[in-house]
Symmetry: C2
Subunit: 546 residues, 2 copies
Amino acid sequence: MEVGEGSAAGRGYRTRRELKFKKNEEDFEEWYEDVVVKGELIEYYQVSGCYILRPWCYSIWESIKSFLDAEMRCMGVENVYFPLFVPEKLLSKKKDVEEEEEGEEEEEEEAKEPRKFAAPPEDQEKVVAWVTKSGSGELDVPVAIRSSSETIMYHSFAKWIQSHRDLPLKLNQWCDVVRWESKDPTPFIRSKEFLWQEGHTAFGIKEEADAEVQEVLEVYGRVYEELLAVPVIQGVKSEREKFPGSLSTATVEAFVQGPRGIQGATVRSLGQHFSKAFNITFEDEAGAKKRVWQNSWELSTRAIGIMAMVHGDDRGLVLPPRVAPIQVIVIPTSGASSSSETTNADAADLSQECKSVAHLLQEGGVRSATDPREDCTPGWKNAYWEMKGVPLRVEISARDMENRQVTVARRDLAEGANGHTTVVPKHELLETVRELLDRIQRCLLESARQQRDAAMAVALNWQDFKTVRQRKKMVLAPWCDEVEAEKQVEEKLRRRCKLMLRMPYELDNNTHLSLITRMITTLSADTKCFVTGKPAKSWGLWGRSF
Amino acid sequence: MEVGEGSAAGRGYRTRRELKFKKNEEDFEEWYEDVVVKGELIEYYQVSGCYILRPWCYSIWESIKSFLDAEMRCMGVENVYFPLFVPEKLLSKKKDVEEEEEGEEEEEEEAKEPRKFAAPPEDQEKVVAWVTKSGSGELDVPVAIRSSSETIMYHSFAKWIQSHRDLPLKLNQWCDVVRWESKDPTPFIRSKEFLWQEGHTAFGIKEEADAEVQEVLEVYGRVYEELLAVPVIQGVKSEREKFPGSLSTATVEAFVQGPRGIQGATVRSLGQHFSKAFNITFEDEAGAKKRVWQNSWELSTRAIGIMAMVHGDDRGLVLPPRVAPIQVIVIPTSGASSSSETTNADAADLSQECKSVAHLLQEGGVRSATDPREDCTPGWKNAYWEMKGVPLRVEISARDMENRQVTVARRDLAEGANGHTTVVPKHELLETVRELLDRIQRCLLESARQQRDAAMAVALNWQDFKTVRQRKKMVLAPWCDEVEAEKQVEEKLRRRCKLMLRMPYELDNNTHLSLITRMITTLSADTKCFVTGKPAKSWGLWGRSF
């Protein structure tokens, strides 16, 4: 709790702020909840599994939104808003799609798994929340709250799409969705309600739909790597974890303490399952009637949670400069001036100097603010802004003011920045700050990438695989791409470990992933599956998921 | 329906588009629904009272959002997101506030009405939608869906506000809200779900809270007048129509066909009702514990509906340039070139010319597009873009191309623009278009203002009031500002007529309203209430509301 009670002098929130837990594997989840609450991203709410997104968090979400909106505009995607409610009959159509897809397995190249391995549609149904009454009585027909908008939108798609000229249709909405999960909730990661964008697109030609999957994965990858400084790997979920009703579900996967993989955003290749169920057809140029090919793709506020998990440390949040609501906080400190004593007049001058420095930075396009609170010590303020993850702290003492200089401290720990401060002449500040912000952005990504790579190893056979798993690393292994392999791993290995990602994509889609790049080139015609011994078809990433 | 069925040649949407209804008092509501559907703002949905906001509409909403977000930033308001769900116990707290407020009437200066005249809290309760079960069974405790977020937010306010240093607290959220109305739904105006922003603020001093009411009213007024070109009047709702639990509810009121008043946005002065119920207190500078003063204020997608009602005509939507997603549509027409016949090559050249003109406009900051569809006639395209309300149409024929000129047509009917076209040399086009867009924006507001003023008259006594009401005009009348007057009007007059607005604001807040400005200066010490004969205290605006 950052806000205490009692008299002004003894109020808890003017005393030192500290995290209760350390960032290590045992305490990881407690540490994480502590960080996102004390860093003022979220606040708990009276409905379990619902969270309040505070201004500090919402501003980060707005940065993500404006980046994605610009990218989507370039892709020709238009924003819309469809209703929150789904009538029962539409929802049952979705169930049809899921069941049909199961029944059709043999037809579809991508769905070769036996029925029991497909994600059970009941799981999706179980989390649907139902409105059954209003203040004035029971509803004639209950309505569900959207957990995703496929069924809500595709009835309209069938209306709007008639000719090949109406294609591609590319729509997106920013909205809240509800999944009434009974599992333990975790802020941003698993909650009853969350915010996301969901793109829904329809194409006349399968190849165009497939190309879009790749295009969107790239954009999502840039949200994580360029904005949030979180390294990700592109891949395809296992059949058991794909979205029911999709041909395949591609994701960008991030990695957190453990190490564990965590799904960052997904792109679902829906094929023609929904266009069959909703009768979404068009006349091609020759006048023939055809079904459209569809994708749906989404990125949610979960991205903010992943960012907090990856960069945070024992002192709280660490925000990448590109999304930090405040990039530089300017704090007056007590360093005495060369004259005898600090007077009120001096304090006023110092406060004015801080404002003018913050203004100078703002004019230069840097998001900065001052913290003039008089009832907090500079030490308390440092701890407060560290906990909120502000990338740079500028301290100004009376002596600094006399010498036309300021003291700059980095929040991140990269490049030995831990606690070190640098004195910078005031006239060089703007340039220094800009360089440092760029540098911090790069360092955070690089350091997260190194940690991720260090937590990953390659295994070419079962013995290596077991050894590496004992060392708790994630394993990249060549495999036969059959569910048989997944089953064998489960049976032979006691520890929790599963296929996180299949990696069918071309090398240049994962250029940042040096390890994979190096390894994947070694996959030759005689490489065998590490577990079944059959010919290997692709690389798989195995380990635990968050 | 703009999208027909059958073969490409006979498809409905390539044939002439027309509105079914005329814009007059009898057909008004049918005309309106026809316009917003055919103008592609909304689409009906399978849950009655829920509507799909199409890209054309959502883009207008985004213009409003970005204008308001910028204004709110200047006011120091921060964006947040609170949960969709309200636990039962919090909702009952709101009911307490409403009942307490009723019980306290004598204490409050602003609440002098007898109980039966206060808006019944049951009305609010009746429209609340309840989630009672999820896919996996009945919920232990049902949760309501927000119809407004006072009760959701103020529990946190009590936590976050401790000291005078934490004030003012100014939060806003953009979200969807649900009101399960049983009345006939109307797109944008009354729907089960709609989008809005809701600002919630807390102050240490009543005067600051009051000043904010005025500040927000100004901003809302500018959304209507500057962006949507809809003239509004600021005023205060009658006691019977104010938000239950507020001291008073200020609004900006717009006017539509009828004439009828329609509430454009509201600012609720909540006083200390909620700070009492939720125990939101702070320590002032002297260490004394005090309750905060609160406001809440909101503007919804209703604004888009009002805009469509005010400017639309028998040919469809008319969009003010500042919010039109496309400001200029460029269409190739069939005017033959001086050479013998139009060949395919000519058509390709013409299409290229249209693109280059649209590009030239885009480069100049004008939102423009071309309509190259080959299976539609120029006449069909004209009707289509008129129906969508695009402010300017640029037509280019082969002859225009030769002569380095284009033909420009205005969508609006002001200044005798009806159907007239102007030939403009291509090198003057950008400048001409910019001037015209500015001019249209001004004309739309001015013309709506003239219509509004013409539908309004002043009455100083009962006889005049009756006469003016018989002519169906709205009436500005000096009155005693007591509920007694409202009751007498109801009893004496058979027609539907009520107090739409009390106007306590200073003249300079309504400078645009020339009529009121002129009249209000005549309110002297011996002016009597037009109905009770008691001394007049302010002007009231009487008539029908939408």
